[in-house]
């Protein structure tokens, strides 16, 4: 009896009685969601353009954050470091295309996927070797992001908005807009879209497949950098970060592998969902549930809509 109450009544009572906390939860979930969305975005970009499920996206995030901090520590000005990181990512994209993708061209998806797992290991090993494994703090202020937080007094209590989170949200939105424009308006963008459905089309746009791959991997790198900065700001910059990369998978399941807006919406669903669950239902199970709750959401989703939110139903033929 109590258990039923604890599950079905108590949480909502609590929401009602402390609305400020509830709004706080929503906000936190929202921010987390946007960042999940950003990581998922990285996957989507590459998947759209090369049909590769790039497992190494999370580690790219870590790499971005870690290298950025380390460059800065070497005494390089923050913004120069950012540029250095971008250059590094361009080189990386180029290497990946040369050494891996080009070798595996027209192999089936699983093999390409496996190869990116391999890539992940290579990056982990190399990054730890070069930058060391110790956690660092992200250089938020140095990059000129506002710190501190605004308080919004409401319902007797108050809701806190960390400035960095706000800017994260803002930047995220900006990025998405840019990418959306980039994909629909620019020549390259259209090229990228074309690749997904048909390589010939891509060539007709006048860009070689290889170039396109380099570009998307580079763009994915940029996204990774942004994500890295803000995650780094919320938690420490360390390899633990990659674990949040796994969250992108459920996001993709919900949003679909090829849809940008899907990625964001999926991100929000997961972010909000697990935050709310963690706060209001978590205690029943003993906390730490957000480690797997995202997957449960995705699983439930899959069982009812195996093709994801934005995919369309497939008819099996023989």
């Amino acid at each position: 009896m109590e258990i039923l109450y604890a599950i079905f009544i108590a949480p909502f009572v609590e929401m009602g009685s402390y609305p400020d906390l509830f709004i706080q939860a929503l906000w936190d979930g929202f921010v987390a969601g946007t960042l999940y969305g950003l990581i998922a975005l990285g996957f989507v970009l590459i998947f759209k353009a090369s049909g590769v499920f790039n497992f190494s996206q999370p580690i790219l995030v870590v790499l971005a954050a870690l290298s950025l901090v380390s460059f800065y520590k070497m005494g390089i000005p923050a913004w120069i470091s950012v540029i250095l990181v971008l250059i590094m990512f361009y080189v990386l994209a180029w290497l990946v295309e040369r050494l891996i993708l080009r070798q595996l061209v027209n192999q089936d998806g699983n093999i390409l996927f496996m190869s990116t797992i391999g890539l992940t290991f290579i990056i982990i090993g190399a990054a730890q070797w070069i930058f060391g494994g110790v956690p660092n703090a992200m250089i938020v202020n140095e990059l000129g992001f506002p710190s501190g937080s605004l308080e919004w007094p409401i319902f007797g209590g108050g809701v806190y908005f960390e400035m960095i989170d706000v800017s994260a949200a803002v930047i995220a939105v900006i990025m998405i807009v840019i990418l959306a424009v980039f994909f629909s308006k620019t020549k390259i963008g259209r090229g990228l879209r074309a690749v997904a459905d048909d390589h010939q089309a891509a060539l007709s746009v006048g860009i070689s497949l290889n170039q396109i791959w380099v570009i998307v991997w580079f763009v994915a790198g940029i996204v990774a950098l942004v994500t890295g900065i803000f995650w780094g700001a919320r938690s420490d910059v360390s390899f633990a970060l990659q674990i949040i990369g796994f969250k992108a998978l459920p996001v993709l399941i919900i949003g679909g592998f090829t849809s940008i807006q899907g990625a964001i919406i999926g991100g929000l669903i997961i972010g909000l969902g697990e935050k709310i669950f963690e706060i209001y239902w978590g205690p029943l199970l003993g906390s730490g549930v957000e480690g797997w709750f995202a997957y449960v959401i995705a699983l439930v989703f899959l069982l009812y809509r195996p093709q994801g939110l934005f995919g369309d139903k497939l008819i099996e033929r023989v």
């Binding site: 139903k313 008819i315 099996e316 033929r317 023989v318």
Partner: protein, 259 residues
């Protein structure tokens, strides 16, 4: 050859839709025991869909399937396979990772039932079962003259032979009805002759009832006992090859379709 007038399978007023698309519209016909029944029609006429309905891969929105004189309840494909319906596929659906003999053996799965325990020891009942069914498969392989490729991985076989292996796999199920989805698609004249010969042999030697889809009119005409003609999901004609050939609607339909 068995007397060809007892109905073994009958479909009544089948309607099949995918979302808005109408694949089959109110089609009814029957299949006699031991006959060779051809389903013909231009591309997209709903021929394959019809087979998929018969072996339960598609569930029609309306209509009944009668088998062995009783109405068939809605079943899963694997259950329908148990009732004795085997088929081959338009674009070959062999198990690429296996050799010819292994593929044919898969046809016997339903008839094997020794439990996990014996399977693990691969001893006693399990191995006896394996041997006994292996023998049957070898007979079929011999019958279809694919002995020389017994141990060859099917992936590396030429198209014509793959089709034959697929037929062997279906035969291994000792089916009551054998559905052949374009058994001669993409074959040269010689291969077609061989295949037709095998189809007739199968029908005669094992008395298997056969329903087949085929484009090549000539082939259908000397193979089939009776022919159903579909066009845009509707039944256009049904009768002996001669009747069908002389049917105006059919002639129009075929002239209407570029070949």
């Amino acid at each position: 050859m068995s007397e060809k007038n007892s109905v073994i399978m009958e479909v009544k007023n089948i309607n099949l839709r995918f979302g808005g698309v109408i694949a089959i519209q109110d089609v009814s016909f029957n299949i006699f025991e031991g006959e060779i029944r051809a389903i013909i029609g231009p591309n997209g006429a709903g021929k394959s869909s019809m087979l998929n309905v018969i072996n339960g891969f598609y569930h029609p929105q309306e209509g009944e399937v009668w088998f062995n004189g009783e109405k068939r309840p809605s079943m899963e494909p694997y259950q329908i396979a148990k009732t004795g319906i085997a088929r081959t596929f338009q674009n070959i659906a062999l198990f690429k990772g296996m050799t010819t003999i292994e593929n044919v053996m898969t046809g016997r799965q339903l008839k094997m039932n020794k439990n996990f325990f014996w399977q693990m020891l691969r001893y006693g009942p399990a191995i006896d079962e394996e041997v006994q069914h292996r023998r049957r498969c070898e007979e079929i392989i011999d019958f279809l003259e694919i002995n020389h490729i017994r141990k060859t991985p099917v992936g590396s076989l030429p198209y014509g032979l793959q089709k034959r292996v697929e037929l062997a796999r279906a035969l291994a199920m000792d089916p009551k009805i054998l559905l052949l989805d374009e058994p001669m698609a993409g074959m040269n004249v010689e291969e077609k002759q061989d295949m037709s010969r095998f189809i007739i042999d199968v029908n005669e030697e094992f008395g298997t009832t056969i329903a087949l889809i085929e484009h090549d009119m000539a082939v259908v005409m000397d193979l089939a006992d009776r022919v159903v003609v579909l066009d845009y999901g509707k039944l256009l004609a049904d009768g002996t090859p001669a009747e069908v050939q002389s049917n105006q609607a059919v002639i129009d339909a075929y002239l209407g379709v570029p070949h």
